[in-house]
Every structure is written in structure tokens, then in C-alpha cells.
Amino acid sequence: MSTAVRETGAAYDVAALRSDFPILATRVYGKPLVYLDNAASAQKPLAVIEAERDVYERCYANIHRGVHWLSVHATDAYDAAREKARAFVNARAAHEIIFLRGTTEAVNLVAQTYGRRNVGAGDEVLITGLEHHSNIVPWQMLCEEKGARLSVVPLDEAGEIDPDTLERMLTPRTKLVSVAHLSNALGTVLPVKRIAELAHARGIPVLVDGAQAVPRMPVDVRDLDCDFYAFSSHKIYGPTGVGVLYGKTALLEAMPPWQGGGDMIRSVTFEKTTYNALPYKFEAGTPNITGGIAFGAALDYVSGIGLDRIAAHEHDILAYATEQVSAIEGLKIIGTAREKAGVLSFVLDGVHPHDIGTVLDREGIAIRTGHHCAQPVMERYGLSATARASFGLYNTRGEVDALVAAIHKVVRMFR
């Protein structure tokens, strides 16, 4: 592991960090891999890979069940990961951290428990025009079931959400506001603290989809004062299949359980079941034990570097990439918000994003092309797709140069 960057004040040593990620040494079609699809999923450092392996080799057993040595150790390690997640987002208590499969499951949990209990016919759920499908569809399903309405705060041309417009769309029927912290398709950072203030002034709770924000900026749920915050392990250099729903204790306590099964109960008879305390009430069944523990290792890893330093590095890379691609004739950046992070979406005159993706792939450059699971965003700009480069803690200016050179190649080919 790169100890250099942990020394206070040491320069951000991207080469040392890159050596923590074995996959970055891969060659694709004989060229060095340039991985610019971090918003889809981030690569894993050795610390995470080894943590998974270590669990299976040294302390794997089911958790919260056995009296035996292995189960106790596995339980301790899993609980330690929960504590790491608590500290990472500065939640008040570890029981406010529900371990789930990911952000999508977290949003669905809130829709199916808080939502089903509190949203009725004629009520409204408010989201924004830049949401990922996972922060649209669960609410549509809820609204359809309840006869409620899904309201959408419009996106402006830059890809920003105007808090004043959002405020005007809060009505006495609004039961919940659910917004992304950072747009996966455009890179826009939303003023979620301000949004929470506006909603709270009317007694409306706020869920923040933090899937893209958590790997890219320090997040403090108490400072944001959001009621729920959802994020995924795999976007913050941890394993897939693990994610977090943070919720304020009082709200979580008042919510009915979601899935029934083992671990979420206190006692079961055929007449009546009493439910377990938080967080277990929402964690039915054997969880992703190894993944959860390795997720803790991922949080240790990024904390060791420092989220503020990762944010500064990615800001530099994004600014450099923005400047460099802007010089390419016929290239248009989609999403030009004043505050952006990590994501550069673009289109090229006369060339379909899919073809850009194929040409870049043969140069060893991995980007995402398509609608990014945000079709309403694409529709807002009259597009069916964009090309998207998204950055991580290990990307370099040299990789941006490779991206720019490859886009020039695309231009030469198709014009």
C-alpha cells in the first residue's frame, strides 16, 4: 500500500496509488488500460482484494448466530465495517447504518417502508430531472400503487437544479424529497444541504442518493442534515453487492420492516413476530459478509488518502479534461454546471457515442456510452446517448491526453 500519501502534507502521489490497483497494469489490445468508467464502477485496491481473501482464509462463518470462535470473529469484523461506515459519513450511531445490496436497494427500502406508510392518494414525491433510474422508478412504483404523484424539478440547460424552483414545488402534499448528491450523467453537484433546509422548513424528509458523491467528496450526513443517505460500496473501490442506507434513528424506528426472515426478528411464533432492533430490523437473511468486511477495508483505504485530497485531485483532472476536450472541434460537453465532480459527458458532431466507445476501446480506453440509466436526462438535451468519461483517484493527466488523442482519431475516421 502507498504509505507515501499518508504522510501529512505529502504530495498526492498518483503513481504510488496506481500501484495499489493491480488491474491498472492490464493491457487492452496491446495498449495500456485507461480506465475512465469509474462512475459505473471503480476498480479495487489490493487492500480490498486481500481483505476478501483474508476473510475466507481466516475468519469466515455466518454472523450474529454462532457461539463458536469463527462466527464471533466474523461478526466482530462485520460490525467493525459498519462502524467504519458510520464514521465515514459521520452518522450519530452505528445502528443508523443499514447494510444492503447497494444504493438501488436502499432507495427501494425507503420507498417500500417509509413511502408506503406515509404517502397516500393525492400526495406527492419530489425528485429532480437529473436522477438515475434507481431514484425514479421506485417512486413511480410507489406513486402508482398509492395514487400519488411524482413531481420533477426541471433541469436547466447547464444541468443545474435551481433551489428556488425546487422550493416552489414543495406543496402541502409533498411527503418526501429524493435527490442525487452528484449526477452520474452530468457531473452536477446538487446543493443538498440547502435542499434539506428548504424541505425541513415544511417538515418534509429528504433522501439523498449519494452513490456518485461518496467516492468524490467528504460527506457528513449530520452537516447535510438529510434524513436518509444511500450509497454503494462498489463505487468507492469496494466490492459489489454491498451498500448503505443511512437513516436518522427516529425515522428508522418508526418505519415498518421490509423483508422478513432471519436476523430481523427478536422472537417468532406462528401467532406473532417481534422485530429486532436497528439496524437488524432491515437486514433479513445472511448478508454479504465478506463483501461487507472488504467494504470496510475500502473505506479505510480512501480515508487513508483523504477524501479532500481525492476530491482535489479529481477536480484537477476534470478541469484539465474539460479544457482539453473543449478544444476539439464539434465536441459539445453535456452538463456545464458551476459545481461539478468526476464526470465528463460529451457528444461529437456527426458521430454516434457508440462508435466513439468502440474506437476508444481499441485504444485501451474504457468509457461509458449510452443513456447512463438516466434516460430523462438524455431526453432533456434531445439526445439518445452521450459518451462519458468519469474519473477516479488513480487517473492522471496523461490518461486525459490519451483520451483526447483517441477522440481526435474518432474525428478523423468519421468526418
Binding site: A40, Q212, P353, T358, A385, M413
Partner: protein
């Protein structure tokens, strides 16, 4: 361009992409169908005029990638004047070509559609090339519902972030 990419983006494909043939709507077609690829959001509409069993006129419209646009353009040229059975056989042969299946002995001549042989080196692009053909099939069947590339075989990636 690397030789590899040249296999996919052959000159004729780039030409049909930039200047697609039969690229217009028909005001009152006998049949039409819409095709959709949820992977990339591409949509193409295929229009058909029939004379008995013969595809008298074929055209298309829509927005797609180079492969799907060129495939649609060259498809309209290839099937015009053919019978339905001949068009079906041509699609089957074309599908074998781009998925790298060995040629059947008795299939129809593909002619210039052979330029799509490079697609077999790019499995994720097969659906781009077949979209117009599936849409044509839907128009011939007169199904009236949009066809999706995801109705064939295992679903491709359409999720993620």
C-alpha cells in the same frame, strides 16, 4: 485507423453511414415498424411497400450509430425487389456472418453485405447491425409493436450507472 478498426468500419460502411440510402419516411406505407435498442437508445423506423409477396420498396428513418445506420441503408438496397422468403433467408445468412457462424452451403449470396463480416470481432456491436433487420421482420409480420434488440437471447447490459 488500426487494421482492426478498419475491419469493422470498412469504407463502404462509413459511406452508407454518412450518406444513408433510402433514408426517408413513406407517406403511406403498406407496413411500418419501429425498432429500438435500449442499450444505446437507437431508434429506427422501417417502411415497406409490398406487391403481393415482393418487397417493392423499402426505406428507413431514425438515428443510430454508424453500424446500425449503414446496416439499415444497405439492407434496404439488398432486399428491395426480393420476396419475403428471400429476405428472411438473407437475414439468416447475414446473422450467421456477423456472429461468426460457419456458412451454410445453400444460403443466398450476401453480395456487398459481406462488408459487415468485421462485426463478428465486436460481439457487443452485433445488435447494432441486426436492429434494422429485426425491424424489417416486424414490419413484414405486421406486428405493430416496436421490436427491441433485447427480445432476442439473453439481455445485454442496460443497467449500471
Amino acid at each position: 485507423m488500426s487494421s482492426d478498426l478498419r475491419d469493422l468500419y470498412q469504407e463502404m460502411i462509413l459511406d452508407h453511414c454518412k450518406r444513408p440510402r433510402n433514408f426517408h419516411a413513406m407517406p403511406s406505407p403498406d407496413r411500418k415498424a419501429e425498432g429500438y435498442n435500449p442499450l444505446c437508445g437507437d431508434r429506427e423506423t422501417v417502411y415497406l411497400d409490398l406487391e403481393g409477396d415482393v418487397l417493392k420498396d423499402v426505406s428507413f428513418q431514425g438515428a443510430g450509430c454508424a453500424i446500425s445506420t449503414a446496416s439499415a441503408s444497405m439492407m434496404t438496397e439488398s432486399v428491395k425487389g426480393k420476396t419475403r422468403a428471400e429476405a428472411d433467408a438473407l437475414f439468416e445468412r447475414f446473422h450467421d456472418l456477423i456472429t461468426g457462424k460457419p456458412n451454410g452451403a445453400n444460403g443466398p449470396e450476401l453480395g456487398k453485405l459481406e462488408v459487415f463480416s468485421g462485426v463478428r470481432g465486436y460481439p457487443v456491436r452485433v445488435k447494432c447491425a441486426t436492429l434494422p433487420w429485426h425491424t424489417l421482420k416486424a414490419a413484414l409480420d405486421g406486428a405493430g409493436v416496436p421490436v427491441s434488440t433485447e427480445s432476442e437471447g439473453p439481455a445485454a447490459e442496460s443497467g449500471g450507472a
